[in-house]
């Protein structure tokens, strides 16, 4: 069966592409170096498939049909169409066999995600790969969590979803090495009056709880506070999915900095997986 060989999380921020100079040279140098370091770790785990947990910024779905959770099961996925994402890959290779197994496994685990044979992966997917220096990403199974229009999947369900994703990986026939990468926030606000505000208190509390390996305390904290940390912070659900996939333990913050010039609390993290999670 397949093995879960890495779990990672990264922020994604359009200003790093379309207005990087809004931040000073030291911030830029630090941030780009931190992404490169995450990319090295991702490459080092030699994943042959990548479950990429991200949002959809109205590239695929609108309020006439908006899934809460969706699995991309296609052979390939389109690259970003956002005009500021020039130079992004036109397409990403998918992993339809793992996607189908993941989808069916989730139904068996009490989730009923929507599915798509043809997704457009926006900057939320492309930016962590680009800044991580992942030129050719392993085949991707995107998992889209609605973070742009309430109501949102509850934080506790996102944690359970992550655990179910890890279980699905471990029952996937074959010996593939599979990594999970969650993409989002942390605290930020987009298109709302407090755009540019970063709730550093939320970010610190969230990261502290992630590190304490007491999932229930994390879930309570996040469900209670996520709504006040900027509408973009709703994407923190993706980190909770990753945390669930890692078994709620082993979180290691690699870098954090509030970058109001880029409108976002920038954070990169990995999880140190125990051997037992693969046995």
């Amino acid at each position: 069966v397949a093995r879960l060989v890495g779990v990672f999380a990264a922020s994604h921020m359009p200003p790093m592409v379309n207005a990087p100079d809004a931040a000073g040279p030291q911030v830029r140098a630090e941030a780009f170096a931190a992404y490169a370091s995450l990319g090295e770790r991702l490459r080092a785990c030699a994943a042959e498939a990548l479950v990429l947990v991200g949002p959809d910024h109205f590239q695929n779905f609108f309020v006439d049909n908006l899934p809460g959770i969706l699995v991309g099961v296609g052979e390939s996925h389109e690259g970003p169409a956002e005009p500021w994402m020039k130079g992004a890959p036109e397409r990403f290779v998918g992993h339809p066999a793992l996607g189908a197994h993941l989808l069916d496994s989730l139904y068996g685990a009490g989730f009923e995600p929507a599915f798509s044979l043809h997704l457009r992966l926006d900057h939320g997917y492309a930016l962590p790969l680009r800044f991580g220096g992942i030129g050719e990403a392993p085949p991707i199974v995107p998992v889209v969590i609605n973070a742009v229009q309430p109501p949102f999947p509850r934080v506790a369900r996102c944690y359970a979803l992550g655990a179910a994703i890890a279980d699905a990986v471990r029952t996937f026939p074959g010996g593939e090495r599979v990594a999970v990468l969650a993409s989002d926030g942390l605290s930020h606000s987009i298109g709302e009056p407090d755009m540019g505000r970063i709730d550093t208190e939320f970010d610190a509390g969230f990261l502290r709880h992630m590190g304490e390996s007491e999932p229930q305390a994390l879930l309570n904290f996040a469900e209670r506070n996520i709504h006040a940390a900027g509408n973009g912070a709703q994407e923190m659900r993706n980190w909770v999915v990753a945390h669930g996939a890692a078994g709620g333990t082993g979180f290691e913050k690699l870098y954090y900095r509030a970058v109001p010039e880029w409108f976002t609390g920038l954070c990169l993290a990995t999880w140190n997986l125990e051997e037992r999670t693969n046995s």
Binding site: F58, F62, V63, G191
Partner: protein, 93 residues
């Protein structure tokens, strides 16, 4: 903070924002904004706000924040100006 629930979304106004992501739609919009908007059964207030580039009025309507942000990016509205309009709209509520 105002969290826009779907019950208060202005569907057609948001639909305009969503559709304008397509380059062809952007070209048509730039060429003749009124003609483009005539395809949509917009409320009079929404149509007038779009025609007048009145971001304060737009932000006072039921806009999904990501979609009004996309619209501002398409129109190349400077961030400072966009955020000021959002704050003015919030302040008048």
């Amino acid at each position: 903070l105002v969290k826009v629930l779907y019950q208060v979304l202005d569907y057609w106004l948001n639909r305009v924002f969503f559709d304008l992501q397509a380059p062809a739609a952007q070209a048509a919009y730039r060429a003749d904004r009124a003609a483009f908007l005539a395809r949509y059964p917009l409320a009079d207030g929404a149509r007038a706000a779009l025609l007048a580039d009145d971001f304060v009025a737009l932000a006072q309507r039921g806009c999904n924040p990501y979609l009004i942000r996309l619209y501002a990016l398409i129109l190349k509205v400077p961030d400072a100006q966009f955020i000021a309009a959002l704050r003015a709209a919030a302040g008048s509520r």
